[in-house]
Structure formats: structure tokens, C-alpha cells
Amino acid sequence: MITRKTKVYGFVSVLFFIVMGAVLVSMLQYIEAKGGELVQHSKEIADYKAREQAYNELEQLIVSTKDDRDELATYILTENVTIDFLATIEEIAIEQGIELTTNSLHVEEQEGLFDTLVISFSVDGPQTRVYSMLQILETLPYHAFVSGVSFTNDQKAVGAVVEGTIELNVSLLDYD
């Protein structure tokens, strides 16, 4: 027999079931959201660790290649050592016993890291010494090449004397 008490119990039970169901659904949603956040955090941590590892590897690479990079840098002229470079060339010319004058100096802008410094020299002196100077300019320990040469034998001079011009192109590191 269904009494009033039974109806109340039944109603309370259904209400309790509904409330518990709602609580359960909310908890599942909460757990799912937290799970998503956890996955996101795990990815961020993995990303961070990967970047940290890449950074460490890069740092090691920089340390291990320092000598090579320092050596590489010596082959390329920079603007702040251009004056020293010209002074060195002029000193070599004096050692070779020839007259060398820097006629012109200009920078040809190129795309990328490097510009080209174009230097025109006038040379005058004994033939063998001038030729030797040309060879020195062609084998400078820089990224450079001789782009033009014009020599004239001075017929009026005593012995084989040559005068002329040498154009040298040197790569110039552009930090801009």
C-alpha cells in the first residue's frame, strides 16, 4: 500500500537521484576540463624542455665552434679594420721596394651580409717586384680577388720598370 510516507521517500529519492546525477555530470565536466588543462600544461612543459634543450645545444655549438668562427672572421674585412688593412698593404709594398698609392676606395653595396670594398692601387717599380706584389694581392688571407690589372713597361727607365694599376675587390662584412 502506498502511503504518504512512501510517496515522500519516493520523491526524495528521485530528487536525490537527480541532484546526484547533476553533481556527477558537473564533476565529470570539471574533471574533463582539468584533464584538458593538464594536457595543455604537459605540452607547454614539453615545448619548454625542447626549447631549453635547443638552447643548450646551441650554446654548446657556439662554444665548440668559437675557434672556427674566430678564424673565419679573420678572412673577412670589417669597416673598423679597413684602415689597418690598407696600412698593411702599403707596408708590404714598401717591403717589396715598389711605390704603391691608393687611388680610390669605394664600397659597392651587395645584397646579403657582405658588401664589396673596391680599392684601386697605382704601382710603380721593378718588374719582378711589381709582379710579386700582384701575386701577394691575389693571395691575401682575405676573401678578396683582383678584378683588374693594367701594367705598362717604362721603356725610358733603366732596367725593367713597370707602372700600372691594380684593382682589388675585398668582401666587407656589413653588420647593418
Binding site: 668562427r69 657582405f114 709582379y131 690589372v149
Partner: protein
């Protein structure tokens, strides 16, 4: 974090510059040296032909031609000089304009030498 990022960027820049220098050096032309070509012309000329002027230039990194002017004691010596230049492995050809052969003795000349392509590959 900011410092680490700045260091990272700085290090990347250093690496970029070093890589650029290495690439530039690797891509260096291995073209013929003027001094070697000059030496060859001088050797061939020897004492028989007087070289008055010689000029070279590079076009896009390659030595295209060499212009020489001078004096030869005779037409035969000049022709022999031209032939010797052409026989050299460093040169492709030596163009001697016929007008240069007008005189039989004390012949002023002008020759254009083409440098061997093999030398510049």
C-alpha cells in the same frame, strides 16, 4: 627569461654571421690568378718580344681576355709568339690582327688572348 631570450637571439646572430662567412668562402671563385697568366705570357715572350703594356680584367669573376701590346723584332718572331700563346694550356686563343703584320721588322703589335675555359671551371 628575457635575458635568456636576448642571449639566444645574440647567439643566433653570431651563428648566422659565421655561417654567412663560411658560405662566402666556400663560394669563392677559384678562377685563374692574374699573376699566373702574366707569368705565362712573360715566359712565352722571353727576350725575343718586348711587352709594352698588358691588361686583364674580370667579368663576373672570370678573366675573359688579356690585352697585350708590344714590339717584335720581326714578323716571323711575332707569329711564332702568337703560335706559342695558342699552344699554351692556359689560353684558348690569341688574336693577332693582320694589320699588325704590315711591317717586316720592328713590328708593333696588339694581341688579345682568350683565357682557357677549363682554367675557370
Amino acid at each position: 627569461m628575457l635575458v635568456a631570450k636576448m642571449m639566444y637571439t645574440k647567439n643566433l646572430n653570431k651563428r648566422y654571421v659565421a655561417n654567412g662567412i663560411a658560405a662566402q668562402l666556400i663560394n669563392s671563385d677559384t678562377d685563374a690568378l692574374f699573376s699566373a697568366l702574366l707569368s705565362e705570357v712573360e715566359n712565352i715572350a722571353g727576350t725575343s718580344v718586348v711587352l709594352e703594356a698588358i691588361s686583364f680584367s674580370r667579368v663576373e669573376g672570370k678573366v675573359e681576355s688579356i690585352q697585350i701590346t708590344g714590339d717584335a723584332p720581326s714578323r716571323a718572331t711575332l707569329v711564332q709568339f702568337r703560335d706559342s700563346l695558342e699552344e699554351s694550356s692556359l689560353f684558348e686563343s690569341a688574336a693577332l690582327p693582320l694589320s699588325n703584320l704590315a711591317k717586316d721588322k720592328d713590328v708593333p703589335f696588339s694581341i688579345t688572348i682568350l683565357v682557357s675555359n677549363q682554367l675557370q671551371e
